[in-house]
Amino acid sequence: MFSHLIRYYSQVYFKNKSNIIWTFLFPFAYITIIFFALSGLMEPEASLQEEPIKIAIISADSQEESDLIDYLDYFSANAILEDGELQIIEKNNSVDKEIYLIYHQTDEAKAREMIKNKQINAIVEAKNPITIKDSQGLGDVKMGILTQFLDGYETNRKLTISLEHQYEAKYSNVDVLDYFSQEELASKTFEEISTEMEAKIDAEISDEILAVIESQTDVFEEQADSDSTNPALIYFFAAIGYLAFYPISAGSYTVEHIIANQSERGKRNSVSGVTKTKMFFASFLPLFIIQAFFSWLIYHYVGLLGVSLGHRQVQIVSLMILGNLAALLTGSALATLLPFQKNLRTALGIGIPLFFGFTSGMMIHHIAILISDNFPILHKINPVGIVSRGLYVLYSDSNLVRFFDAIKFLGIYILVFLVITLYGLRKNSYERL
């Protein structure tokens, strides 16, 4: 019986032209369009190599300035103003490295004159915290990248300070008798004792330091995430999150054709001796498998386009599949909750993924931060946001702590909508048809 239902429901789904378009063609068309629309953002290195970001560094603290320049030297070059233009005078320590940023050390008055003359794009003040005092002609993308460079510096600095505190604290309480016996102390020179003790302490605390690095990295990344993440990544991950969550209407369909008050077919199916729960799962299962397969295809297609979502294929595809599951169950729950409002359901099927996509930064990346600050619950339960944040943490985090957080929230969402659907399906007769 179950296989009979699955066989025909799969056929019905596959033979429907609109399903072919919306399930099979739309995701590829959408991701292709998004890719080309964001191609400048997805490969910032290429555009940056052609035209690096030019900044003036003004100093409020000479130590800060020195530290900042040390950091920037990994991907930038020092320059002087010559003939009205910045000329690189010194490339960083590796000549093979690409230059994404050109900096010029000067005072604020001179820097303001340079920005007025369009000789630089931004003025950066070296202090704690690092600040962009002014900018011109950078555009969203380059501004995002510059901000990310500087955030990287901030993260690095905070981590270093934190480690220093941890390390110093460890050394400050050291008792030499914890490491050497009196006999050993008597038999060794001071230099030998010093060297051996340092090695022992290093070995002991290395695990702890690693843990500190991990935890601090998480904290700093959280902060970086909320302040300014590369907009290209937010756009792209939100777009994939939207794709994972868009098949809401397909979810509605799994219920529409089996419930008496939604269609004539539903009436006829309801008169048969087969339970609606069985029909629902028979209708839902092939749809879910198809969607899951297409999520896997989308992952590889994105790879073919040259966009790397990271190396964690299983986790990435799992996240997208859970997004599909959340969408399908949202659709089925809507169909049981709004049996007579088919037009409203269609509108919601289109509108809800767009709304969640928008609030997770699919169109304007700052919206995600605004929502997070002002509507934290919406931020937490937004399935598109959960998927896109999940993709981001899979891309950026060394561990899976935040990924499992995303899975947890998505799991709760799925469970709630599954319960709503099954509860709605339990109703066997209706007030009106």
């Binding site: 033979k15 077919r265 009436k267 006829r268 199916n269 001796g273 066997n428 209706y430």
Partner: protein, 316 residues
């Protein structure tokens, strides 16, 4: 509850807020009969069927099918029911054969048995040439036949047919009507709703006329006509009709609208109280020989019009 009934509806009440769609309705359907449900639009026919099938919740009363109370979870009873809804209820994406196989598969699990049932349903509805057609390629009449085939392929004991011949060409209509008669011969009980009076007169063993959710009259079409107060028209061409005979006829309380002009005697009579035979006997007693005699009985449509005050076909 009577065990001899296939369906028994007892004191059924269904309300839509203030509107009473079914009003303390009682009816019974016997085994292996074709039972007609007649009524103008909004009379409660579809609501009644949906209540009997437990698709609709009702406010009061009980419905028994095959001697057991029918509820939404009476899956064993549902396995023996076939339903042909008024609107076409098939999958546009499946072919004729696939549609019939799908719906048949909701009742018949054995593949070989199902295949046989599907083939028989296709033959039965004359859809053999259209097995591989999708519904969008079928004419209205063929679609109706497919709709019927999907509802009866599993050979149900009890079949509900909700206006199966609406908007169907005469050829398909005759085919469907013959098929319904055949289904009864195969042992099924059929509940049939229609707007076409001649179908009811031709097919149904018994019928019920509903209006405003109430049963107005029930019985066979002959019983309903004969029990109605409608008169039969009698016209007799006769020369030399005597005044005495005319006086006798004028005194007869069951006769009205009596006229005799240009050798034509015309009057109306209640068909079961003063018959044409009574008139002929009277004429023979007075040695009078009529040249020609004709009578016109009231139709079910006349009865329906009289009972409900509405023309049935006008409401289609």
């Amino acid at each position: 509850m009577n065990k001899n009934f296939e369906i028994e509806v007892v004191d059924l009440v269904k309300k839509y807020k203030e509107l009473v769609a079914v009003d303390h309705l009682n009816l019974s359907v016997y085994e292996n009969e074709i039972f007609g449900l007649l009524g103008p639009n909004g009379s409660g026919k579809s609501t009644l069927i949906n209540c009997i099938l437990a698709l609709l919740r009702y406010d009061q009363g009980k419905v028994y099918i095959f001697g057991e109370e029918m509820t939404a979870t009476s899956f064993k009873i549902k396995q023996k029911i076939g339903y042909v809804p008024q609107d076409i209820a098939v999958y546009e994406e499946l072919t004729v054969q696939e549609n019939i196989d799908y719906f048949c598969g909701l009742y018949i699990f054995d593949k070989h048995q199902r295949k046989q049932h599907v083939d028989e349903a296709i033959d039965f509805t004359g859809l053999d040439k259209f097995r591989k057609f999708v519904p969008s390629k079928l004419s209205g009449g063929l679609l109706r036949r497919l709709n019927l085939a999907c509802g009866i392929a599993h050979k149900p004991k009890l079949i509900f047919l909700d206006e199966p011949t609406v908007a169907v060409d005469p050829q398909s209509r005759n085919r469907i009507l013959e098929g319904i008669e055949d289904l009864r011969k195969q042992g099924s009980t059929i509940v049939y709703t229609t707007h076409y009076m001649e179908e009811v007169e031709m097919l149904c063993d018994r019928l019920v006329i509903l209006d405003q959710g109430q049963v107005l009259v029930t019985g066979s079409s002959e019983e309903i006509i004969s029990n109605s107060s409608l008169a039969q028209s009698i016209d007799v061409v006769i020369f030399d009709l005597t005044d005495s005979v005319l006086n006798i006829l004028e005194q007869e309380p069951e006769i009205s609208h009596l006229t005799y002009q240009d050798a034509k005697l015309s009057f109306k009579t209640n068909s079961n109280r003063y018959t044409l035979l009574d008139l002929l006997n009277l004429l023979e007693e007075h040695n009078l020989k009529p040249v020609s005699v004709s009578s016109e009985k009231p139709t079910l449509n006349d009865v329906f019009l009289e009972i409900t005050g509405k023309e049935l076909k006008d409401n289609v």
